[in-house]
């Protein structure tokens, strides 16, 4: 979908910059033509998406207990370090190398260390731009999972887990949804089916949500849960984190248009609207049910709205965004209520929010697709709503099953070898002290 769009949109962009080949031919023909506006926006988007990492660290960090605040934030930063290195070294080749595994795996040894593309420019955009923009998706996804098993994993085990998870879950999914190698390179499986996933509903949120659920179930609850109340240590930080995530999401979603044009504006607009609708819905629910609207509810609603619009950002209109945002909040609210009934410990509700809102967005978007944005079949006829619904369901189902099974195996392996679950004593003492030798808030003690 997206890759396909690149081609067509960038050609449009070139159109605006007019007959570049002819032009360039006139002057040194070797110089590739670049579109400075699109590059400016894509780099901005990259920066915004990076901002989501500290944003997520604040969001998650504020929600755990005081003794685990640094450990939890480190989960986000570790993703930045580990995946930040893995992606240029080998990840990009796996995700965006020439298809070698039936639409599920790429490989191109020329892309290791990004060797081959140091000066490549495709359709006006240096290849590096997309490499780095995409790297943010690869970084944020494993970091999201961390919320599900917050406050109870070993740092070393976690680092190994996200590194391998990235290679065996994220890279294949990313390849299958976004890789479009044209005639010779092949196409990702889900992309070739015509699944719509504008900015990573399946790749990012559903895969993280489901993997988080599996991990939470596999590792078991935090000691004391749910008997002991586990109070957020800093809701002001969580709230600011939610604000930064909202800002960063503009890059995530509007950047996924891979242009600086109409589609970008549409994606940004619906992102904004869905977030507001999600937030408003959540605080209305709480206001009605408890007579009190909470700040965590506000933050959760913002997230639910943003997640639901993620797969849909480029294809739905404002009305669709209002509906998706609101419904996502309702669904996530209910999902968390169910979790509390069932009693498993998805600590920061990665499944309840990312998983549920992600699935809901991926499926419901079908009903709001803008005429003209519906994918076409082999005969260039747009899908009917029913057909597209089936494809969306398929994408969601494959992602869920695939992510769940592979994550489970991976967790089991790591647990048996280097160990993942924190020892009881270390869990009591808190991750900050036992794993990192630090205290988050020195200000609490006299110094």
């Amino acid at each position: 979908m997206r890759a396909a769009r690149w081609v067509c949109l960038i050609s449009l962009a070139l159109l605006v910059c007019h007959t570049p080949q002819v032009m360039a031919a006139g002057h040194e023909a070797a110089e590739p033509v670049i579109n400075s506006g699109t590059i400016a926006w894509m780099l901005t988007s990259t920066m915004l998406a990076l901002l989501m990492v500290p944003g997520l660290a604040m969001f998650y960090g504020g929600l755990v207990r005081t003794k685990n605040v640094l450990g939890t934030m480190m989960h986000c930063f570790a993703a930045m370090a580990v995946i930040g290195v893995l992606w240029p070294v080998v990840g990009y080749s796996l995700a965006f190398g020439r298809d070698v595994g039936g639409g599920w795996l790429g490989w191109d040894s020329g892309l290791l260390f990004l060797n081959g593309i140091d000066t490549s420019v495709t359709n006006g955009l240096p290849d590096y731009v997309l490499v780095i923009f995409q790297s943010k998706f690869a970084i944020i996804t494993p970091a999201l999972i961390a919320g599900a098993f917050a406050e109870r994993v070993r740092f070393r085990g976690y680092c190994v887990f996200i590194a391998i998870w990235f290679l065996v879950v994220y890279a294949p999914l990313c390849h299958s949804v976004w890789y479009d190698g044209g005639e010779e390179g092949g196409k990702g499986y889900l992309l070739s089916q015509g699944a719509i996933d504008f900015a990573g509903g399946t790749v990012v949120h559903i895969s993280a949500g489901v993997s988080g659920l599996v991990a939470a179930l596999f590792l078991g609850a935090r000691r004391g849960y749910p008997r002991t109340a586990m109070h957020p240590n800093n809701l002001t930080m969580t709230l600011i984190g939610a604000g930064l995530l909202w800002v960063g999401w503009f890059g995530f979603n509007a950047g996924s248009a891979v242009e600086s044009g109409l589609k970008t504006a549409q994606a940004l607009t619906v992102t904004q609207v869905a977030a507001a609708a999600g937030a408003l819905t959540w605080i209305i629910i709480e206001g009605c049910k408890h007579g009190k609207a909470t700040s965590l509810g506000m933050a959760s609603g913002i997230l639910a709205g943003l997640i639901a619009i993620t797969p849909a950002a480029g294809v739905v209109t404002v009305k669709g965004a209002l509906v998706l945002g609101s419904v996502a909040s309702i669904a996530s609210y209910l999902a968390i209520a169910v979790k509390n009934k069932l009693g498993y410990d998805d600590s920061l509700d990665v499944f309840g929010i990312h998983g549920v809102a992600g699935m809901l967005g991926a499926i419901l978007l079908t009903f709001f697709v803008r005429t003209g944005d519906m994918p076409v079949n082999d005969h260039k006829v747009p899908h009917t709503i029913g057909q597209q619904l089936f494809i969306q369901f398929e994408g969601v189902a494959i992602t869920c099953v695939g992510a769940a099974i592979v994550t489970l195996i991976l967790l089991w392996l790591i647990d048996k070898t280097i160990g993942l679950r924190l020892k009881q004593q270390d869990e009591h003492a808190g991750m900050d002290h036992s794993l990192h030798g630090e205290h988050g808030y020195g200000l609490l003690n006299l110094n």
């Binding site: 109340a229 629910i285 049910k289 009190k292 909470t294 965590l296 509810g297 609210y333």
Partner: protein
């Protein structure tokens, strides 16, 4: 001399302080503590009503001469109650105080309070 320690609800600090001043008790030391008693205090966490086992409270420490004990106690009782008294309104503890020294002047005993 006695040391009066009172654990009160956070929202009553201002009233208690006022009541103490009205009874001419001007010097106090307060700190944040967390208490566990009969009270259950409901917080919300993502739509779930959470009952923390430790509730934020304020602890007052007031050193007084013997004849000021009752005025102090009655001031606290007056300021700290919610309505006619609610669970969680707190406790007052009275301890014997052997000596009190004002650091500035090094004077000791009742006059240093």
């Amino acid at each position: 001399m006695k040391l009066v320690i009172a654990i009160i609800q956070s929202d009553k600090l201002e009233q208690v302080h006022q009541a103490l001043v009205d009874n001419e008790i001007f010097r106090i030391t307060v700190s944040r503590v967390t208490g566990h008693g009969q009270q259950t205090n409901v917080d919300l966490y993502r739509g779930q009503e959470v009952t923390p086992n430790l509730i934020p409270k304020v602890r007052l420490e007031i050193a007084v001469n013997d004849k000021f004990v009752e005025p102090t106690v009655s001031a606290i009782l007056k300021g700290a109650k919610h309505g006619d008294g609610e669970i969680g309104d707190g406790k007052i503890f009275i301890l014997p105080l052997e000596e009190c020294i004002r650091i500035r002047t090094e004077e000791r005993g009742g006059s240093a309070i």
